[in-house]
């Protein structure tokens, strides 16, 4: 018995690289993009966990793997049941309980669908045997919950008649309409203006408070993650390098990568200018992952051991896990000595 809604053990997603017809046939060595390279993650009921990382870190792929949208390896459990992908009954109940919010409100709605069709589609697909009037009622309810009031007014419109913020609300309504217990939100606000962003975030928060929904919140925005989530996981090149309560961001993060990310966080506050640790170079390609600790080529404190041995996630403080050989080093002080 656990109170995890989602549990992933050693989750891996590899994409095979096509090297052209001839090489595909004759070359024995197959090359893979290791988008997600063995992560362990548990999300408790009613918890918001943020998955933070740069592009190419595998954060979106992790979310899609959890929703069974990409082929994956490793163990996944939902509500204490191991994913039973061959069982139609399990799948359909899973889809009712786990849903996704996409990043781009301009792309996540079919331009040829009226709002009523878009929002009611999941209902028709998942909860069969509903009458048309029930469907309409639930559609209006979902739209109004998402802040489009009165819902009746939006039913027969097309997405292109709505603004970006309104579209994201519709997209959210398409998820809320089936009242899932778990939602993967993939950068749901990164395309929206600051003044609208807050509404969408607060909406998700309300859903959590009213219905106990759990979230995997995928974002590149550390400060947003800090604000809304209970726990934060930092991903780098397909692995989680640090995970812990969201307060670690404002206080005691230990992995050098997290420390650097936090230090470069652009900050509105003019009086709080901290020393920045700007890492050189860019994230290597996931086709060619460095040996040992995958962060060592960019790490300011990398030592010999880091090039050979891959560090494992270890608990260094209560609920805070770090995958680093030298988690006690605080970078700011290292830099000053130089």
């Amino acid at each position: 018995m656990s109170n995890n809604i989602v549990e992933a053990k050693n989750l891996k997603v590899y994409f095979k690289i096509r090297q052209g017809l001839i090489k595909d046939i004759f070359s024995k060595k197959e090359r893979y993009v290791k988008a997600v390279d063995g992560i362990d993650l548990g999300i408790k009921k009613g918890e918001i966990v943020s998955l933070v990382g740069e592009s190419g870190s595998g954060k979106t792929t992790t979310g899609r793997a959890i929703l069974n949208l990409v082929h994956h390896e490793g163990l996944l459990k939902f509500d204490d049941e191991i994913y039973d992908l061959k069982n139609r009954k399990w799948l359909s109940s899973f889809r009712k309980r786990a849903q996704m919010i996409f990043q781009d409100p301009y792309q996540s709605l079919n331009p040829k669908y009226m709002i009523i069709d878009a929002v009611s589609e999941p209902l028709r697909m998942i909860e069969k045997n509903l009458s048309e009037s029930e469907i309409k009622e639930r559609t209006i309810q979902a739209l109004e919950f998402a802040g489009l009031k009165p819902g009746e007014d939006y039913l027969y419109r097309y997405p292109h008649e709505l603004s970006g913020g309104q579209r994201q609300r519709v997209a959210i309504a398409t998820v809320f309409v089936v009242s899932p217990n778990f939602i993967v939100a993939d950068e749901p606000v990164s395309m929206l203006d600051a003044s609208i962003r807050a509404d969408i975030v607060n909406l998700m928060y309300e859903m959590k408070e009213q219905k106990g929904t759990s979230y995997l919140f995928i974002t590149h925005d550390l400060s947003l993650a800090w604000l809304i989530s209970d726990r934060i996981a930092i991903m780098y090149l397909g692995k989680i390098v640090e995970i812990g309560p969201s307060e670690i961001i404002s206080g005691n993060c230990r992995h050098p990568y997290t420390q650097a990310l936090v230090s470069v966080l652009a900050n509105v506050d003019v009086d709080n200018k901290r020393q920045k640790i700007v890492l050189k170079g860019e994230t290597p390609s996931p086709t060619n992952i460095p040996t040992g600790c995958r962060f060592h080529p960019r790490c300011p404190i990398a030592k010999d051991k880091c090039t050979k041995e891959e560090p494992q996630l270890t608990e260094i403080e209560k609920n805070q896990f770090v995958a680093c050989h030298y988690p006690e080093v605080i970078l700011r002080f290292v830099d000053e000595k130089k």
Partner: protein, 328 residues
């Protein structure tokens, strides 16, 4: 303090309109600002507030259906607003250059980087010799922190952050006195953003030029600018030093906008949103354009356009809350 500084750019009462099939979009109205020599000014606001349009009009690069309806743009005390295309061409890139939004994805994929920068140079210096141009390109690469042995690479061999550096190098090619950067860090990863911000600040130290940085992200402005102009629906609603505008913001819109950015060093509280949506500029609301979304709106806000109120130290706020009496 700003009185004795030389003005690089002086924009007064600028109105920029667009003609579209359903009417006239009043994209920018009554915009006043100065850009002093060597300073960096941030234009901040949400999408569609007119910040890019304002910048484009100072370069004479408005789209075909856009025009300057009224107002003056002075560069070195020369009036630009009525320039012909030929006059704009002389001035553009030599005096004022721009890093366009998303331009790093607009490099020609089949031409070498060096060729593309050389193009920009030889357009303005047709007499320049090949080896001079090459020397200049190497110089520019060093300036923006790129490996100068890679000038002959193709764009796909560069990462997003490096291509953005190339775009900055290209803008600097003719030693402009003003550099406009439109969303220079958007779509880049956090660490690359930090690298570009570092570069911008370094460039400001190394070469004396003025900068206009356009962004929707207040936090980037506070890292790179001296002064901020906050725009809403085509108007500048607040203008002042970064410290004044952020620490002591007066306009309700600015206050709300700042409230919309979480601050990890502050209190963990829910971010606030501004109710409603930005107005349609085909038919902007009467009076203060923000009054429909403003929690402090009074009767006067619905009818009268607020005038700028001076709070000293170059801090101006266009809001009726501070007694900006109209038509005295």
């Amino acid at each position: 303090m700003s009185e004795n500084k030389k003005k690089a750019l002086e924009v007064r009462d600028l109105n920029v309109f667009f003609k579209i099939s359903t009417g006239t979009v009043r994209a920018v109205e009554n915009v006043d600002f100065d850009l002093y020599e060597g300073e960096s000014l941030g234009l901040v606001g949400e999408s569609g507030c007119g910040k890019t349009t304002t910048a484009l009009s100072t370069m004479g690069m408005l789209p075909d259906n856009g025009y300057i309806d009224n107002g003056s743009i002075k560069y070195d005390n020369k009036e630009l607003a009525n320039n012909s295309e030929a006059e704009w061409q002389l001035y553009r890139w030599n005096d004022i250059a721009m890093v366009f939004q998303g331009a790093m994805n607009a490099l020609n994929p089949v031409k070498k980087i060096s060729f593309q920068i050389a193009e920009a140079i030889s357009l303005h210096y047709p007499k320049a010799k090949d080896d001079e141009i090459k020397k200049r390109i190497i110089e520019l690469f060093k300036l923006v922190g790129l490996d100068s042995s890679r000038i002959d690479d193709y764009p796909h061999e560069f990462s997003g952050g490096m291509r953005q550096r190339v775009m900055i190098a290209m803008a600097l090619a003719c030693n402009p006195r003003i550099l406009i950067a439109d969303e220079p860090t958007t779509a880049l990863d956090v660490m690359i953003q930090a690298q570009i911000i570092d570069l911008i600040n370094e460039l400001r130290k190394k070469i004396s030029m003025s900068m206009i940085i356009i962004t929707h992200d207040l936090s980037i402005i506070s890292e790179t600018c001296d002064r901020i102009a906050v725009m809403y629906a085509g108007n500048i609603v607040e203008l002042g030093t970064v410290r004044d505008v952020i620490k002591n913001s007066k306009h309700p819109y600015t206050q709300k906008l700042i409230g919309a950015f979480p601050n990890i060093y502050g209190e963990k509280k829910r971010i606030e949103s501004i109710p409603g949506t930005p107005p349609n500029l085909l038919d902007p609301p009467s009076g203060c354009r923000f009054h429909l979304r403003c929690s402090e709106a009074k009767q006067i806000c619905k009818t009268e356009v607020p005038k700028s109120v001076d709070f000293g130290n170059g801090h101006y706020v266009a809001c009726h809350l501070y007694g900006g009496v109209t038509n005295e």
